[in-house]
């Protein structure tokens, strides 16, 4: 069913739809032809939408009870935990929800990297996704400052001080960001304001992300272009909605495990000590989801160099679609890339671990190796592998895996199953 064919049955529906075609949009969303071979790694888009909504809803309730003032913030969080009805539940959902959000977004990003979803014609979807990810990191960082514990305060001090590395204007920029000469009450106030604003910017970008997705349609595990609609596609509803719901429920079970049985395991115990500008914690560490970037920052002996590499490690992702020279999307048919993909995954995990360790001795050496490899992966490995690699034969369609190069179908089937 194509969008143009849709006309509401009722007269009122037609009247309204002629003026604002919301019903046409609804029909488009339910009929949207989706590849029938999407695996469970594709369910994280829906899961992420759930995460965003959960954070916004719990966040709005928390903001009703929270006080953004350096002298009162810590106490107001304890007030939420002790005196607000189910305040502990709302706060634990919100704080663990941030971690679950990042867990899901990392899976989503790595899925895109494995199956080449960032490649033509989906570059804009990828770039909007990265903007969402950047805003998520900013939002999460500012949210972590709000309880005004020791890690809040010192994390904010470390991250905002990064801007002082900018030559000439660095100091002025930092003072401007703080609204004071150190992290203080004005900083907390503006972080609260922006922490409330950014999720709505993210929501706007999510709409653009989905819109951009609906132009070419979904990529799929074998990474081929599909005729839509065809035997290879299913309507989004009920096929994808029910599958997303199933995956979301599994995700919620894990989420609940954290919220109800170890709500503080992902946080740092120092954040239950009220902020004290006179006492620096032994190790200042950000939340786990920012650790790889923190490791890159600290692996460079020069402050400005560290800041440049840290931001560079994110901005290089924006040109990923043009660094990858392979025409084949899915790693399923890219034996060499598949190899380097997993090395890259290990490298990022290693960097994450080094970010949690003190920047000295063996940790620093490993962090440096990890940082160098991170950039090599994008600058050397991806362009070169794309040129050298002999890719496996790609099937013509999902339903009938006819091979483009006339190779042995049984062999291709074997390769396909391997993945």
């Amino acid at each position: 069913m194509s969008d143009q064919e849709y006309t509401p049955k009722s007269k009122a529906g037609k009247w309204f739809n002629d003026r604002l075609p919301l019903l046409t949009l609804g029909a488009h969303l339910t009929d949207y032809p989706t590849p029938k071979n999407l695996n469970y790694w594709w369910t994280f888009g829906g899961i992420l939408t759930f995460c965003l909504l959960t954070q916004i809803i719990t966040g709005i309730v928390l903001a009703m009870h929270y006080v953004a003032h350096a002298d009162l913030a810590f106490a107001s969080v304890e007030h939420i935990m002790r005196n607000v009805n189910y305040g502990w539940l709302i706060r634990y959902i919100h704080s663990n929800g941030a971690s679950m959000f990042f867990l899901a977004v990392y899976i989503h990003i790595f899925r895109s990297m494995f199956y080449g979803s960032y490649k033509s014609p989906r570059e804009v979807i990828w770039i909007i996704g990265l903007l969402i990810y950047l805003l998520m990191m900013a939002t999460a960082f500012m949210g972590y400052v709000l309880p005004w514990g020791q890690m809040s305060f010192w994390g904010a001090t470390v991250i905002t001080s990064l801007f002082s590395a900018i030559p000439l204007v660095g100091e002025s920029i930092t003072t401007w960001l703080w609204g004071a000469y150190s992290v203080d009450n004005p900083t907390l106030n503006r972080f609260f304001s922006l922490h409330y604003l950014f999720p709505f910017l993210i929501s706007g970008l999510v709409i653009l992300h989905i819109w951009a997705l609906h132009v070419p349609g979904n990529n799929n595990p074998i990474g081929i272009d599909l005729k839509k609609p065809s035997k290879d596609t299913v309507p989004f509803h009920p096929y994808i909605t029910i599958k997303d719901a199933f995956a979301l429920l599994l995700f919620m079970i894990i989420f609940s495990g954290f919220v109800f049985f170890s709500p503080n395991v992902l946080g740092h115990s120092d954040n239950y000590i009220p902020a004290n500008p006179l006492v620096t914690p032994a190790h200042i560490v950000p939340e786990w989801y920012l650790l790889p970037f923190y490791a890159i920052l600290r692996s460079v002996p020069d402050k400005l160099g560290g800041v440049i590499l840290m931001f560079g490690s994110i901005f290089i992702l924006f040109v990923l679609p043009w660094l990858d020279t392979s025409k084949v999307r899915s790693a399923v048919f890219r034996p060499m890339y598949r190899y380097f993909y997993w090395i890259f995954v290990v490298d990022v995990l290693l960097l994450g671990y080094m970010g949690a360790m003190p920047a000295e001795g063996i940790y620093l050496t490993l962090a440096r190796i990890g940082t160098i490899y991170y950039f090599l992966h994008f600058i050397i490995v991806l362009p070169v592998v794309g040129l050298l690699e002999k890719t496996d034969p790609v099937p013509m369609s999902i339903s009938a895996p006819v091979l483009s190069s006339g190779a042995d179908p049984a062999l291709a089937k074997k390769d396909y199953d391997k993945i």
């Binding site: 029910i242 495990g257 709500p263 239950y272």
Partner: protein
């Protein structure tokens, strides 16, 4: 297709963890592991231990450590020590609270009420620091959550006072404690056998008191723990049942299509 990928991911994560595990360096001695009743999934606090722990807190800790986020009424709430309303009133009435100003603009003192916050031993952090040799006795409301190792660490520090190793020089008012970060602590061993006389007749050994007061502190930091555990079990059972139903629906719906889910 999914099976292979998830297996790979798990292998990658596990091997990374195995590779990095030996790199852990021990800065402090691991705290003594205690089999707390509130540790398990359905864990609850030991009511009698909480009541005894409150007694230790009141008679020993409270002379230096505040607990400013708790109210006396909390002592009677479900999931806590569950003192009777009369007992809570009596506990609150045993302190004098400064209130006001009254209609004349004067501050006055009155008996404590259950709705009052726990009275702090010092008017402010500075006074508390000055009175304790320059070391601020931390507020105990969330102390168990504020230390890596939590309740185990709390208990270990209480039990960890020893003679310093030969050759270690300690300043006046500094004590050796093998579980403390840095092994030095400015608090003298607060507990000794029989320092408290338990009203329920339990023998007040040092170990018993350390366990009781740690249990009390764990509750003070997480007064919602029992409700949280109970609700968590219900939520997860509900989610599992719903997941099964959705899974069956999904199987049925997808059976119309020639494809694996």
């Amino acid at each position: 297709m999914i099976r292979f990928n998830s297996k790979r991911l798990i292998i990658v994560i596990l091997s990374t963890l195995i590779f990095i595990k030996p790199l852990f360096s021990a800065e402090t001695i691991d705290p003594i592991k205690v089999n707390w009743s509130f540790k398990e999934l359905t864990g609850k606090f030991d009511r009698a231990s909480l009541q005894r722990g409150f007694q230790v807190y009141k008679e020993v800790c409270a002379s230096c450590h505040s607990m400013q986020y708790l109210s006396y009424r909390n002592l009677g709430e479900p999931g806590g020590p569950e003192f009777t309303q009369e007992e809570v009133k009596a506990i609150a009435a045993s302190v004098e609270i400064e209130d006001g100003p009254d209609s004349q603009g004067e501050m006055f003192t009155r008996q404590g009420k259950p709705s009052d916050k726990f009275k702090s031993p010092y008017p402010n952090v500075e006074a508390s620091t000055a009175a304790n040799g320059g070391a601020y006795p931390p507020d105990m409301s969330v102390l168990v959550k504020a230390r890596p190792g939590g309740a185990d660490y709390m208990y270990s520090v209480l039990m960890g006072y020893e003679e310093p190793p030969a050759g270690m020089k300690l300043d006046d008012g500094v004590y050796y404690n093998k579980y403390m970060i840095g092994q030095k602590i400015k608090m003298a061993s607060p507990l000794s056998d029989g320092i408290v006389e338990y009203s329920d007749g339990t023998e007040a050994t040092m170990d018993q008191m350390a366990k009781d007061v740690t249990t009390f502190l764990a509750w003070a930091a997480e007064p919602e723990l029992e409700v949280r555990h109970k609700l968590g079990i219900k939520v997860i059972i509900y989610l599992i049942l719903l997941t099964i139903l959705v899974y069956l629906s999904m199987k049925k719906i997808w059976s119309r299509v020639d494809s694996e889910i």
